[in-house]
């Protein structure tokens, strides 16, 4: 399948500000990206950088402060049309808090069908079908979530998200709450189902290896802004932004290679409340110059679709 010219999701200069007692928290501050049909876009960054908020704003789980979100070329910013919800779904991080403890697995997976008004007689077979697809035995139908282990719970969450056959799914750290031994199973399941059902993923994670495994392109976020966006291989081979380089250097490598100095960041992430002008990364950047703390760098194409927002990249 060739990728169609029109992206399925287009996010243009989206902002999400929260008013807090100490000022304005700029959780997402002018983020733009587009995702083509059938591709997986990875969104990485450390905790608190606004990646989960971005995912929720795209789905309109929380309203955007500014900006536009297009789905299939249609403006869906802050619209709550129930039919469009069928096409866009989310898989949550914590399979413990994302399932209603009072409902059986069958009822949880069936809920989307009830909400969307699918007739009762069709529901049972659809639920059984999707349970088989995500690798849950039919025995679990009458079980409660607390009887399942983390991996199976996450399969229930995936079944609930996919039963309506959506086109676009936001995966919000879907494996980071799971045991390492189960992570690979769930990632492979997501990948297989993605191919079978022709899904488009926005895959949010703080784990670079997970994102590398799944994504065609990767966006790196820092303090509410995308600092770099490129094809996965290009980004990992040729990171241009100092923050991306620091992130990659922080990935543990199984082989010990002496002599290669690691780039270690010092200091903490500055507060996203009323940030100072200039590059958000400047206070921690080892290569920062004068211009960095006065002028906000723009996200520019550094060649062949490799976008980076840094004054030092020419």
């Amino acid at each position: 399948m060739t990728l169609s010219a029109q992206p399925i999701v287009e996010v243009r200069d989206v902002k999400k500000y929260f008013r807090v007692p100490r000022g304005t928290l700029r959780a997402v501050d002018g983020v733009s990206f587009s995702i083509e049909r059938g591709e997986t876009l990875g969104l990485v960054g450390e905790s608190g950088c606004g990646k989960s908020t971005t995912g929720r704003v795209v789905l309109n789980l929380i309203p955007a402060t500014a900006g536009t979100i297009l789905f299939n070329g249609e403006d869906v910013t802050n619209s709550v049309d129930r039919r469009k919800r069928r096409e866009m779904q989310i898989i949550f991080q914590d399979p413990y808090s994302s399932l209603d403890p009072r409902k059986t697995v069958g009822k949880i997976i069936e809920e989307p069908l009830v909400i969307q008004g699918i007739p009762r007689r069709e529901r049972a077979s659809l639920v059984k079908e999707i349970m088989a697809d995500v690798g849950l035995s039919a025995d679990y139908y009458t079980r409660f979530p607390h009887e399942l282990d983390g991996g199976r719970r996450q399969r229930v969450g995936i079944a609930r998200a996919l039963i309506l056959k959506p086109k676009f799914v936001v995966c919000d750290e879907p494996v980071s709450a799971l045991d390492v031994s189960i992570q690979a199973q769930i990632l492979n399941l997501l990948q297989d189902l993605g191919e079978q059902m022709g899904l488009t993923y926005l895959f949010i994670s703080h784990n670079l290896s997970v994102v590398k495994h799944l994504s065609r392109r990767v966006a790196v976020m820092y303090l509410g802004k995308i600092v770099e966006l490129a094809e996965t291989n290009e980004l990992f081979k040729n990171p241009l932004h100092p923050y991306t380089r620091a992130l990659l250097a922080a990935v543990p490598i199984p082989k010990y290679r002496p002599g290669k100095p690691k780039m270690v960041l010092s200091g903490d992430v500055p507060s996203p409340i009323d940030p100072k002008p200039g590059c958000r990364f400047a206070p921690r950047c080892p290569e920062a110059t004068e211009v960095c703390s006065s002028e906000d760098p723009l996200l520019r194409d550094a060649g062949a679709g490799h976008l980076v927002s840094c004054h030092l990249v020419r």
């Binding site: 789980l61 919800r85 989310i90 909400i115 009887e147 609930r160 309506l164």
Partner: protein, 291 residues
């Protein structure tokens, strides 16, 4: 795999059995439950237990002490106190349970709506309830009974009105804690309307503390209704209501102490039982209270 065998038991009844076992370990709670059960049994079997019509007057035999003919003696109109106390159990339990049910049906959805939506809806609803709470409880119920007129139904309504704010506040607090839960967000992501989320996710998840508070409120509401009866503002005088019986007997406390003591003891035992039972329920239903 071991994990699949470990979870292959039927959990619903084991959960229930576990809860019953936890409850049974608390002797005081079991005593409370037994007291409540005894009163419920008395109320249900009242027509079989009485020795004469509770409203039959015999002016030749007023204020008789407990004896052979009148098991617990007679009151100032010669009515059999045993029969009246038995029927009083019915009246009190009906008032207590019905008023709590009405208060739950009204208060819990209101509180859940306020807590789930927050913002100005919450603000308006809670201020209105604050006004209700600002009145002393008994005063509020008396005013309502005076407006509505004295009847069993109106006593139930006015006691219910007075307990609505408590349930609404409880439900609001719990809903506030739930509104950011991911399973609520999941439902919203599916396009579920607010009423659906409240009815299928919020309310089922706050029902445990509501049951606990409901049990404790039954006792409290019985006391309130009895206080109103004592003040002569409750049910009509022919209804054998414990509070009214206590009040009538009080005038003859020196000559016939049993006339006031027996209905008083009945109130004490039933309310005590309900409170002990409610505390036990809280211990097993509220995970935050578990040691």
């Amino acid at each position: 795999m071991t994990s699949s065998t470990a979870i292959s038991y039927r959990s619903k009844d084991t959960e229930l059995r576990k809860a019953i076992r936890r409850f049974a370990r608390r002797k005081v709670a079991v005593i409370g439950a037994a007291l409540v059960l005894v009163f419920v049994a008395i109320a249900l079997a009242a027509p079989l237990l009485i020795t004469q019509d509770p409203n039959d007057q015999n002016l030749a035999e007023i204020l008789k002490p407990p004896g052979k003919e009148h098991f617990l003696g007679t009151d100032e109109l010669g009515r059999d106190i045993w029969s009246r106390v038995i029927y009083g159990a019915r009246v009190s339990l009906i008032i207590g349970i019905a008023s709590v049910l009405v208060a739950i049906v009204v208060g819990v959805p209101l509180g859940a709506i306020a807590g789930y939506y927050g913002g100005w809806i919450d603000e308006i609803m809670m201020r209105v309830l604050d006004v209700l709470l600002a009145f002393p409880g008994v005063l509020l119920t008396i005013v309502l009974v005076v407006i509505l007129g004295p009847s069993l139904q109106n006593v139930i309504i006015s006691v219910a009105v007075y307990s609505v704010p408590g349930f609404a506040r409880l439900a609001r607090g719990e809903a506030l804690g739930l509104r950011n839960a991911e399973f609520i967000e999941a439902s919203q992501a599916l396009g579920a309307p607010g009423w659906w989320v409240i009815a299928t996710h919020v309310i089922p998840n706050i029902i445990s503390p509501v049951i606990v508070m409901g049990t404790l409120s039954v006792g409290n509401n019985i006391l309130t209704a009895a206080s109103m009866g004592f003040l002569g503002m409750g049910v009509p005088p022919d209804v054998p209501e414990w509070g009214a019986m206590l009040s009538n007997g009080r005038k003859y406390l020196l000559v016939a102490p049993h006339a006031a003591t027996i209905p008083g003891l009945a109130i004490l035992l039933l309310v005590l039982g309900l409170n002990l039972f409610g505390d036990g329920l809280r211990d097993i239903l509220d995970p935050k209270m578990r040691e």
